[in-house]
Amino acid sequence: MPKLPLEGVRILDLSMFMAGPMATCIAADLGAEVIKVESVQRIDGWRGTAWAPGVDRPYERAPSFNWINRNKYDITLNLNDWRGIAIIKKLVPLCDALVENYTPRVMENFGLTYDVLSALNPRLVMLSMPGYGLTGPWRDYTSFAWPTEQMAGLTYLTGYPDGPPMFTASTGGDPLSGIMGAVALLMALHYQRRTGKGQHIDLSQTEACTNFVGDAIMEYTMNGRSPTRKGNKHAWMAPHGIYPCLGEDRWLAIAVASDEQWQCLCEIMGQPQLASDQRFADLPSRYRHQDELNSLLAAWTSQHEARELMIQLQAAGIMAAPVMNGKDLLEDPHLQARGFFLEQDREVVGRKHYPGLPIKFAGFEALNRSPAPLLGEHNRHVLTTLLGMSEDELEELERADVIGTVPIIMRQQPDK
């Protein structure tokens, strides 16, 4: 098998939820050995609830967790116990990078600052990804996916033109910060390979996400105006919108960029007279009359199937695509042809499909070694092979709940 880009790179991953784990998921896909650290006192929040009445191991059933933790090893360590911290400090010299996405006070409280860790391993790349960065008056403010999309301005820009700001209803700022975290990690590893030097990267999720709204920021810094919500409108294209199609809650997005495309669309609609209609004769006219255009288009699209129209319009060089839900995505022939979804068989949940890496490489395939790990699944493997611990030591750690495979809260439930 061809060598993977990050083969031989070991990453200690203290991050939780999505932003950090997404960065390390990409690293693991690229061949890094990622050791994820949770604890039986505090499982990764992305696993959802640790206990639910009548459900066997609910924390192994969360699609969110099971998706972005593939290919990783999982250990549990109670970081509020000195023995847990001691193990982290023994692992750090064996690792090339450490990733965490707590607010800064958390790592400080654990005594796991960059100063301490880099003294143990000067080559260490430490990637910290707090919501607001490691410095500044808001550094210990708490944040997660929605707050980061809100603070970055995405929410202000999302919504109907006549309505309030709205959630993008994506996973918000988390994946945007996560993929930017992967960029940071890869760059720092590149520099480490060249020079042997480590460093502490300070990735403010709010700042990283603000890079994704550059044009809106420039509008303000250039003209003193803040862009606002424009629904599905474009800056200059018209028609440009999402139109109802046959079926329940089925829609088609259409974007017309040129006069030629507009004339072509009129032909396909069977309404060639619209092409010579003065209201729609050129771009500015169409833009001015786009509400009328939208009604005309909706009347036509609502008699057709979204997918058929996409194929017909795209063949004619007009941008069109259905609004896809999860079922559409899983069944889509293009995504299937590209093998985008990975099938993984995982204990507790069985065979499921998960989004893969959206990057294909001609020279190698991204890793698909193992599904997301069970809680503490690799305690023994990591502590014995990397740290040479004995069975006795493992047993003692387990008795003290420094390590384990069952959340503490499970023991306190009556049916357990």
Binding site: P137, F144, L154, P164, A169, T171, D202, L203, A257
Partner: protein
Amino acid sequence: MALSEQALDDVKVLDASQGIAGPFAAKLLADYGADVIKVEPPGSGDCARSQGPFPDDVPHTEKSGLFLYLNTNKRGITLNLASASGRHLFMQLVERVDVIIESFVPAVLDRLGLGYSQLAQINPRLILASVTPFGQTGPYAAYDANHLLLCALGGWAHLCGVPEREPLQAGSYVSHYIAGTYAAIGVLAALARRGESGQGEHVDTSAWEAMITCALLPAMRYEYTGQVGVRQSRHMTGPSFIFRCKDGYVAANVLTQAQWLTLCQFVGHEEWMEDPRFSIGTERAKYTDEIYEQLAPWFSERSKDEVFHQAQLWRLPFALVPSAEEIVNMEQHQARGYFVEVEHPVAGTFKYPGAPFKMPLTPFTVSRPAPLLGQHNREVYCELLGLVEADLVRLRQGGVI
């Protein structure tokens, strides 16, 4: 050394892409030290040059805010790849670079004789990074998509908006930035692998697939539950809401059970802590409209900053919902020096979004503004490729540069 080292100052890149995704990938590399030469078609240049914002709304090839932001730290040359002379020059550049980033419709480069296999013959260590809406392969490879379509395709739009109205695109051109960030990941991965193997690479990034990885898990929701979900942009589970305060909006976000209980106390609804209807998140989700109605008056009597900072003292992940103006003036951004002022000889001096992450040893810097169209033709063609001034005149007259 006068300047500090940068992470990628050993990497040479040709940015032959246009628009947002490819240029953003190349900008990320350039801002952290890569030597990036942007290749634009003579005449109009990168299509982003014709997109706003423009100062005072006057369109000008050198004044597009979008272009200026996306092309910092790059040198710029013009080159007509449709001409044989242009392709000949391009091949000479290919010999001298590590990476090419491009965003042409798949097969266009092949048709020009500039496909990966042809380029790899000249430079076997070359990394060609393609970033397109649908990727290089598959039945839709030749289709086109913009941000609206990528939101529709990527599993974003079907959840964005409200059930009684049409689905919505997300604000800004976030899909293109997402695709560009992944393309940069692809380049860095290929560089890591090449370091050991010496092997070049063709990196194929699909913006659609990239969007799916950032959506609210639509495929897995269906795979795990058989549900496809409904538009839910008014509030998210938790519950998380956007409320109108006296002077604007604030987002009241709750994620965990502990945060919900804190919220109840924060807004003076301690009785909700014991209310069986609100005992767990999935139950609360049935009453989000009611919770919203009950809370709205409390927020409407307060100012957004007061609510935001107070909530943070209670460790609640509330947030502001800032406009561009409020973002630029945000206290935290100012304290961290996030925005950078960039002086451009034609457009003027403006603040730009700065480092997406801070690397203390190898910092983000803006050492040059976006290039003027063809600004570095002489520098690149004469100093790098050894052409003489008279050649440049001929190439210009021939419409090659």
